[in-house]
């Protein structure tokens, strides 16, 4: 394990199509051997960013370097990068063996080396016996594995994957996530992975970047992004977030901020940002699993715990979790997720509840 893959550095990479800016100037550094994901809504520029690295989308401006060498002027076929496409892009006129052998044949390797490498690659994607089949005779998951084998067979130090599991059903997708992860452990390559499934990104990645409107909004480990979203977009994109908008000014206190979200309801909040907030640009984000239920006479515990009273409007049980929608008169309903083992019975719609959560789970973040 001397080499762990390539270091990828993007500086000021920008892509415009006429007047449309598909990618605003972007800086990004991906460490050797890292599994890095790009997530974001449709049209946010994920494929564009990937294309600039692969080489088929020439950037309008900026530098892209792989292990310190600028590759912007290098055509795709000389970059030695591996890529898995969403639609697999297996060649329909070649059998599986020839598909995987294709990059090796281009590199004019001797026949016995080709055979050996293709076979060991098919082995590592756990499909050793399908060499003679045509791609169309394989299932979606199998085709995906062949595409993976083909992208990695020539030992590229950088592997790009553009929504490789987008076409698979949920169960198969989860199975393939683990498989790709294991595969990443076997090959020494840095992986840049695109998906718009946040669970997938969180499961697989060392770090991830959230994109919106052609920009990277925030990047970091899945936990950092979930627990310290930079703004409301990130908070809502990763997992479920309850957002509250302050109705008056935001008041700075010793340990954080105080603001009111409803007449007579003052919440204590913390923020990664220091300095003043105006109520127009700030929102409060509370994760549904941070909220607990309290007895009706609960008034707070003096540690800044926030209390909110409301009525259950919807209750659903899903695999170990009770999910309530509570109307607390703060705009949209508040989601509350509770582990069902700690709740003996389920509340019905119409019942009054008292919600409570700690101040440090109350994040004051900018709207934008």
């Amino acid at each position: 394990m001397a080499e762990r893959g390539a270091r990828l550095t993007l500086s000021g990479v920008e892509k415009q199509y006429g007047k449309v800016v598909a990618l605003h100037p972007t800086d990004l550094e991906i460490e050797p051997g890292e599994f890095f994901s790009l997530i974001g809504p449709s049209g946010s520029g994920k494929t564009t960013l990937l294309g600039t690295v692969a080489g088929f989308t020439p950037p309008t401006r900026g530098r892209i370097s792989v292990d310190g060498t600028d590759v912007v002027a290098v055509p795709p076929y000389k970059r030695n990068i591996g890529m898995v496409f969403q639609n697999y892009a297996l060649f329909p006129h070649m059998n599986v063996f020839e598909n995987v052998a294709f990059p090796l044949r281009l590199r004019k390797l001797p026949a016995d080396v080709v055979r050996e490498r293709v076979e060991s690659m098919l082995q590592s994607v756990r499909l050793p016996h399908v060499g003679n089949r045509m791609p169309s005779q394989l299932s979606g998951g199998q085709q995906q594995r062949i595409a993976l084998a083909r992208a990695a067979v020539y030992g590229p130090r950088m592997l790009l994957m553009d929504e490789p599991l987008g076409a698979l059903d949920k169960n198969l997708r989860e199975e393939m996530q683990l498989e790709i992860k294991a595969f990443h452990g076997q090959v020494d390559a840095t992986v840049l992975y695109v998906t718009h499934d946040q669970d997938e990104a969180a499961t697989m990645s060392d770090r991830l970047a959230i994109m919106n409107n052609g920009r990277i909004v925030q990047h970091g480990t899945p936990r950092e992004l979930y627990e310290h979203p930079r703004n409301a977009f990130v908070a809502c994109f990763l997992g479920r977030a309850n957002l509250f908008r302050p109705i008056d000014g935001v008041e700075s206190t010793a340990g954080g901020y105080r603001l009111s979200v409803k007449d007579d309801v003052i919440l204590n909040a913390v923020s990664a940002r220091t300095g003043a907030f105006t109520e127009r640009e700030a929102v409060i984000c509370v994760r549904p699993e941070a909220i607990r239920l309290e007895s009706p006479d609960f008034k707070g515990d003096g540690n800044g715990t926030n209390v909110l009273r409301g009525t259950v409007i919807d209750a659903v049980y899903t695999a170990g979790t009770l999910r309530y929608q509570v109307d607390a008169g703060t705009g949209s309903p508040v989601s509350v997720w509770l582990p069902s083992v700690r709740q003996s019975e389920m509340l019905a719609a119409g019942e009054p509840v008292t919600l409570a959560w700690p101040a440090n789970a109350t994040l004051l973040i900018p709207e934008e």
Binding site: A54, G55, F56, P75, P76, Y77, K78, R79, N80, I81, G82, M83, F85, N87, A89, F91, P92, H93, M94, N95, F102, P103, L106, R107, M134, P135, S136, Q137, R150, A151, Y154, L160
Partner: protein, 302 residues
């Protein structure tokens, strides 16, 4: 599956008492009746004339193989068949060479540009072949624009006699056959997934290698369909060779027309027609075999 007792559906046979065969309503039975009219039409206006031509080739003017003996061993008939094959082959190859890049570019075009390009190809089909052949006569005449240009630029000292001649026939036929090559190629190329070519590039294929190893093999169905169409249409082509060809470039269809209409030798015309038909059918069968073989892998891939 079986465990979901309530949702298992049974076919009607299982429910009816044993021994009682049910005649379920069947769409294909209806379709069979719908076929009667077209079959009658084809039989009456297509097969029957062909049969009577073949019949006539054996009995007119006297029963026997006399007409075929003449086709094979006497006169210019065999040579004319050979010229026909040669011309069809040349026209097919030229059409392919010209049409392939055109279709390649068209297949990449989108929106208005694509509509415009398609319109340009298709409108040429709306102009009568006779008119287009006459147009080439104007070009190739002794005092035509081509000769004027050749003399004016000093490439030749005197006007060249292009008419009647092989060059004129080939050029005229290529012009007329071109859409029949472009359209099948276009249909095929538009169905080729361009991301395959991109993928080949990322894996290390230069643009030329990606074309040769990925795009070209995937366009073979288009190449073979277009070539077969143009080749077989060229074999029986009449108007252009008859206007531009003359006695030195006598194609089979022109020869048949002469025998039948001018020399009133119906037996010989029928024999020639039958040989041409046999030739076309054999080439078509050969084509089918080749295509099936070449698409062995594709058959599953589609």
């Amino acid at each position: 599956m079986q465990s979901h007792g309530a949702t298992v559906t049974r076919s009607p046979q299982e429910i009816t008492p044993a021994g009682e065969e049910i005649r379920a309503w069947n769409a294909s039975r209806l379709y069979r009746w719908l076929l009667v009219a077209p079959i009658a039409f084809i039989g009456l206006f297509f097969l029957w004339p062909i049969m009577s031509v073949i019949h006539r080739s054996f009995v007119d003017p006297v029963p026997g193989l006399g007409n075929y003996e003449r086709v094979l061993f006497a006169g210019p008939y065999l040579k004319s068949l050979w010229i026909t094959l040669q011309t069809a082959a040349i026209v097919t190859v030229l059409c392919l060479v010209i049409a392939y890049p055109v279709a390649y570019v068209m297949a990449r075009a989108r929106g208005n540009l694509f509509a415009l390009m398609t319109a340009m190809v298709v409108t040429s089909l709306w102009t009568s072949v006779v008119i287009r052949s006459y147009a080439w006569m104007v070009v190739f005449q002794r005092r035509g624009v081509l000769n004027q240009a050749l003399v004016a630029t000093g490439i030749t000292e005197h006007p060249v006699n292009f008419l009647p001649g092989t060059l004129a026939v080939n050029v005229g036929m290529v012009h007329i056959m071109l859409p029949f090559m472009i359209l099948p190629l276009l249909a095929n190329m538009r169905s080729i997934d361009r991301s395959l070519v991109l993928a080949a590039g990322v894996m290390g294929a230069s643009p030329w290698a990606a074309f040769r190893r990925v795009f070209l093999p995937l366009s073979i169905p288009g190449i073979s369909a277009g070539s077969a169409l143009v080749f077989m249409m060229s074999l029986g082509f009449f108007i252009t060779p008859s206007l531009l060809g003359g006695p030195r470039h006598m194609m089979a269809a022109v020869m048949i027309e002469q025998q039948a209409n001018r020399l009133l030798d119906w037996g010989l015309a029928a024999a020639l027609s039958s040989v041409l038909l046999l030739l076309t059918v054999s080439i078509y069968l050969l084509y089918l075999r080749v295509v099936r073989h070449a698409e062995g892998g594709f058959a599953h891939a589609r």
